[in-house]
Symmetry: C2
Subunit: 232 residues, 2 copies
Amino acid sequence: MSKTAVVLLSGGIDSATCLGIAKDQGFDIVAISFDYNQRHKVELEAAKLILQHYGITKHYIFNIGLFQKIGGSALTDTAVPVPQSLHVSDIGEDIPVTYVPARNMVFLSYALGVAEQNGADDIFIGVNALDYSGYPDCRPEFIESFAKTANLAIKSGVQGSQIQIHTPLIKLTKSEIISRGNSLGVPYHLTHSCYSPTEEGLACRHCDACLLRRQGFEDAGLVDPTRYHHAA
Amino acid sequence: MSKTAVVLLSGGIDSATCLGIAKDQGFDIVAISFDYNQRHKVELEAAKLILQHYGITKHYIFNIGLFQKIGGSALTDTAVPVPQSLHVSDIGEDIPVTYVPARNMVFLSYALGVAEQNGADDIFIGVNALDYSGYPDCRPEFIESFAKTANLAIKSGVQGSQIQIHTPLIKLTKSEIISRGNSLGVPYHLTHSCYSPTEEGLACRHCDACLLRRQGFEDAGLVDPTRYHHAA
């Protein structure tokens, strides 16, 4: 019997690649996604299409009112605009306004509950410490600490199982992620990255997520299959 | 200006006492409660009444579909009956079926997001390691580890603030908790403990929560103001 892994799937490049890696390692997949009233909710549709592509049927979508209720992030608070830039080099090194307080703490806590209930010891999350250096909850020290806490939190941890948090992308550049996923056949044409898409789901081209995606494909020498709203 | 604390308020004895202690320490309170489709949802009404009593107006109630979706706990899964016993001594020492996977991990993660957004460094949670020795996420080692992880997860932690998780009840017996709260004027007549209340909100008298509450008041030499469904 193969082992089960819980994969956090937002519908973007990183989580889709993470899913491809978990599949490649032979895990049975339980996917989880979050509807937190993010501006780019179209990514949830992307997540569903990606799972369909892989024939994965176990998918939890959780509604989380927290981030919208507390506000303060450009991703969930319409009062905070999503920054737009021309080049990757314009993206600041500070913690970006797209930071969502405690997001990965909350997401991983849900994953932990799902993992325990599904008898899974493995959780995959596509965090990346390079492109998102400003997000504290994408750093290896946070992930390692979370894993320790997780094993103290749950019944199976106390009884001897060890939850492992897999972060296969944490030290890769965007172009390395895309190259890796491309070699595994990850369906990037189904993924969504843009923080500020049009109503039809077209990508804006100039938010941080679009910039990093475009640059990543370019650096990997691959064609970005995204449909962008604005001309090049 | 006084400091703000986030208090997790279920509406039971422990969290109400915790709130009373935080108030007594002079904190401004932001309360949070969770609707996770618990059988004993009447506790949310209790939480509101307790806050009214204290004149606290900042109250977040979060809907969490997680626990019901993953099932497996007597508190959220109608397929798992709530155990009934005659005496406190009948309560087993194993992890009880009322254990909810990852519950305090999820609750504290929400508290963390609320704390960061409200500029609070202090979180109060009424966990207790004695009466609920079976719950791994009520032990001091879990709480300490969570605090470490929390400070790595959030922007304010990285920027130098230190989130503190206060667990003033963690080593108290139920009767010590009740005595303490009584001396602080905690409105126990407004609290709710029963895991398996009647539709009118009357307590069942025989679930673990009722047993511990009744014994606690008895040991403290105080009258339990709860309205019970069954006669003594």
